[in-house]
């Protein structure tokens, strides 16, 4: 995957203090194209795809919604707390505005945690971007595979990943 001028512009918007206080890249100094490509490789290895992860996270978020920020146990395994905040965050790809509010998930089996919001899911589903290393919103494909109990995807062509 090539780092196009468009990806340069997107990566600039992902830096801390541009669209969000801490940005989207954590301490990752790789080019955006390389970050996306490395996670694509992980998905291929795990035989899962980005849509599976985004859909599963959306499902979990839905089951924690409408509870006025109370923590709830889901599937006898996850503790989920959905927080709503005022306002919207723009996508660094400039393809929409997404309501603020984080979902915090703790997997009681492994003790591992994930954090995401509506924009995170959009970036995963549409742009295959899972966050840079060190970003608190990173959904690492290996961690997601381990704790979200995902089944291998049937269509194994690279396009489907």
């Amino acid at each position: 995957m090539k780092q196009t001028p468009e990806l340069d512009r997107v990566q600039e918007k992902m830096r801390p203090g541009v669209l969000t206080l801490k940005g989207f890249l954590g301490n990752d100094d790789r080019k955006l194209a390389d970050i996306i490509a490395a996670d694509q490789q992980a998905l291929l290895r795990l035989r899962i795809n980005a849509d599976q992860i985004a859909e599963r996270l959306q499902d979990l978020a839905d089951r924690g919604a409408d509870l006025m920020e109370q923590e709830v146990q889901v599937d006898n395994r996850y503790l989920i707390r959905v927080r709503d905040d005022r306002g919207k965050i723009p996508s660094p790809w400039e393809d929409g505005l997404f309501e603020k509010g984080d979902v915090d998930l703790v997997d009681q089996q492994t003790g591992k945690a994930l954090k995401w919001n509506r924009l995170t899911l959009r970036l995963i589903a549409k742009h295959r971007f899972f966050g840079g290393y060190g970003s608190e919103y990173r959904i690492d494909p290996d961690v997601a595979y381990e704790i979200l109990a995902l089944k291998p995807f049937v269509d194994r062509s690279p396009e489907a990943i």
Binding site: G17, T20, M68, D84, D85, R86, S91, E94, E99, G101
Partner: protein, 366 residues
Amino acid sequence: MTPIITAVLVLSALSGILTLLLLVAEFFFANYGECTIDVNKGDKTYKVEGGASLLTSLASQKLFLPSGCGGRGSCGTCKCRVLDGGGPLLPTETPYLNDEEQKSDVRLACQVKVRSDIKIEVPEELLSIKEFETVIESITDFTHDIKGLRFKLPEGETIKFKAGQFANLFSKPYEDVKEETSRAYSISSSPSDNKAIELVVRYVPNGMVTTYVFKHLKQGDKARLIGPFGEFFLRDTSREIVCIAGGSGLAPIRSIVLDMIDRGISNRKATFFFGAVSQRDLYYVEEFKAIEKEHPWFRFVPALSKDDSDHPYEKGIITDVVARNYGDMKDLEAYLCGSPGMIDACCKVLSSKGMPADRIYYDKFS
């Protein structure tokens, strides 16, 4: 050798001439001179230097369109109708405009350049929006993640707003944030208290402006505010009202209740349901209890969704508490302020109790 040197010299000369031509062309064609912006068919006209964006040009004349991203073309909120002189619709605008808006000449003011005389149309109420250079009079810790701020307006200035509206607060550059950034917060004070503005701010993890408020802003600091904005305000009817809020959503409801007192509106029963998780999330309880004691038309119902301690408040999620307090609600009207999830859940309950959708007013924090 000589032909090579000649070729280099000719090329250099050509480049120089082309550069000169470009500079001359820019002077004549990119210098747009003075342009006129006509607002609402002559209601206001402004003379501006051409070349800047419509959003910036209007702001320089103190006409402020709502903008969540400060003109970076990433929020899509600075919409207005451009009737003439706006040039073609740009690809940077189309993601934020639906078909209907595109047909109606709606544009993003931050993307439209003022290159000639231009005619625009904006909602009437935007003409009363003002910019204030304020001083922080006080900062109060209401809860572990909510602060109340009181901004003193400059000597001799006042603000006119409807109870329930909001203002945009600007943060100054700090840490990694290199540019001034603004966010919307509901006004919690009464319109009669017009020499100051009170806002309630809830900390948003990683929020650019709330982090500034919580970590950098101090009493005595200067702060820029623009407002008022918004369509959330008490309708002029005689119906009984029910207000429901959570977190910082209390702010506009407080403004509405204080306004009702100031205007002597005592013929409408009003009940305010305030939902919180536990006692540590409650604030302004003493004030609302005092209002309840003094004004028989007002009732305050705090409700805690997850607090097993011995407390005098209602227990349960706010929607359940509202549901068990009412039978038929078809003759009431509702004012809701809180998270989108809370608003959606409340709307379902109110509708199931017979309240018509057009009598449910809300500020969905978005």
